[in-house]
Amino acid sequence: MKAELLGRADHFDALAIPLFLDKVPAGFPSPASDYCERALDLNELCIRTPAATYFVRAQGDSMIEAGIFSGDVLVVDRSLEAKHGDIVIAEFNGELTVKKLELKPETRLVPMNSRHAPVPIPDGAELEIFGVVTTVIHSLRNP
């Protein structure tokens, strides 16, 4: 697996206006101004619609092949329409569950662990989707 350096992450409360150190001449842009950027914000990477974003915690081993482990925090976006193949939070048997959603050839919730069986949703039964999982936060080290 290759890792790519994206930039510097920092903590900041408000979006500061970038300070341009060099004058801005007309015509050819200064190559130096490219370096004037604010630090990266993880929220920006993980959250598209704040009002529709909820966090939940995964428990159990049914999704390990999707890279979701027990204790991971999942970022859930309710504003997205759930599509075939999405990892979703669904309501099942009166509780919330995280599974892969399959709509073809039939609607079912598929665990991503070969030791668990898929859950078929019978025709006519209403499958309530809580939201679509967009990001997994997996901590590699306990504080």
Partner: protein, 416 residues
């Protein structure tokens, strides 16, 4: 053109958001200190649980029907409310947040209002997960009426567009006057004596007669019912007062304990005042025993005073609060609730110092307060004033409190 968007059974809906097992289950949410029922799910309403009834009066019903009870979780409701409002903002540049679960939207210039209303409803349901009802009409009073129709009649599927005058009249005819926005119990009685029973009777009243009968407010209601827009959207209402009050977990009888609570409320209220960048002139202190206390006679009292000069300084306000507290205190009471209210606000920019006041003390205290606030912001209540109690264990009874699902990492919902 206004839309009133109102969340359905808001507190119950919030409690259900992460608990699919509570769907269709009768449930109620209790007021501070688990005293009274302040929200009911439709199933609990159907079982005849009244609004505002004290918990002890419905204990039997609750047991018999397996009604689930929740302490009010304002951390959760506040967060969900903010999400609803933020979602609504996408639909109009002008809106007024009317309460934690209601907002008026200005929809002027939008065609196909019914479609738009449905789109708003679907979006809030999908994005936040809270069902809302929407009433759309040319005036706020009619929008309120349309909203209650959207709630009452299932066939409307949550949205009523009430722009056609004939439809307005038909709905007014089947609505009691008492259901109209701003018509309270007293006014209902006054109107009934004049033979005004339905909302349509009220709408047909001569506006000037309405004013003579009650006030300009009633006249405005009559005009609004006829489609004449009299109540504007208030986008940013300046605060009129700041109240900080609580019910105690257990009844307090000790002067020192109640005084400490009142000092605590003062510190909170002054903090809020500074956050609003305002100064207060008026300070009020109240204490009261429980209205359901069967052991003693009820007692409640309020004292109000004026600060020598408008201030947001906790120390200056505490000084007055302490004197006011002595005025309301009576030995022998079992106190259930106390509070502090600040009012008569002005902005620090237009503050006039009196002739001999150089303003130096003022500025020095400003800096002190700023320091106190910035320290307390992180650790809430790290720095406290002499009169405040060191611990908050007397605060609230919350035996049925749900987790802070959306605001604390260790409380987020678990999925399997």
């Amino acid at each position: 053109m206004f839309a009133l968007v109102d969340c359905n059974n808001f507190y119950c809906s919030c409690e259900r958001l992460f608990r699919p097992d509570l769907k269709q289950v009768p449930m109620v949410v209790l007021s501070n200190n688990d005293g009274c029922v302040v929200a009911r799910s439709p199933e609990a309403k159907a079982l005849g649980i009244g609004m505002g009834v004290p918990l002890f009066k419905v204990r039997d019903d609750i047991k018999r029907h397996g009604i689930r009870i929740f302490s009010s979780n304002y951390t959760l409701y506040g967060d969900i409310s903010a999400r609803v409002m933020q979602t609504l903002e996408q639909f109009t540049p002008r809106m007024e947040i009317y309460s934690i679960d209601e907002a008026f939207l200005d929809l002027s210039g939008i065609g196909k209002l019914d479609d738009y209303g449905r789109q708003i409803r679907t979006t809030v349901k999908q994005h936040v997960g809270i069902p809302v009802s929407i009433g759309i009409a040319p005036t706020k009073t009619l929008a309120k009426l349309a909203n209650s129709a959207a709630k009452r009649f299932r066939a409307t599927r949550g949205v009523v567009e009430l722009c056609d005058p004939r439809r307005q009249q038909r709905l007014l005819a089947i609505t009691p006057a008492s259901d109209i926005w701003g018509i309270g119990r007293n006014l209902t009685r006054v109107l009934q004596r004049r033979g005004v029973k339905t909302a349509l009777d009220l709408a047909r009243m001569e506006p000037h007669r309405a004013r003579r009968l009650s006030s300009v407010t009633l006249e405005r209601t009559v005009r609004e019912l006829n489609g004449e827009n009299c109540i504007a959207l208030e986008e940013a209402t300046p605060k009129q007062q700041i109240v900080c009050s609580r019910s105690f977990g257990e009844k307090l009888t000790d002067n020192r304990e109640v005084r400490e609570a009142v000092c605590e409320f003062t510190a909170r209220a002054a903090e809020k005042l500074r956050r609003e960048k305002l100064l207060a002139r008026m300070v009020s202190v109240f204490i009261r025993t429980s209205p359901f206390d069967e052991t003693g006679t009820g007692y409640g009292n309020t004292a109000t005073g004026t600060l020598p000069r408008p201030s947001s300084d906790t120390l200056e306000i505490l000084h007055l609060v302490s004197r006011l507290f002595d005025m309301v205190w009576k030995n022998g009471g079992r106190y259930a609730k106390a509070g502090v209210m600040l009012g008569d606000f002005c902005s620090p920019d237009i503050l006039q110092l009196d002739l001999f006041d150089t303003g130096t003390d003022h500025r020095r205290n400003d800096n002190l307060m700023r320091a106190v606030d910035s320290i307390n912001r992180d650790g809430r209540g790290m720095i406290r004033f002499g009169g405040q109690r060191p611990r908050k264990d007397w605060f609230m009874r919350q035996e049925h409190l749900s987790p802070a699902y959306t605001t604390k990492w260790n409380c987020i919902p678990v999925v399997k």
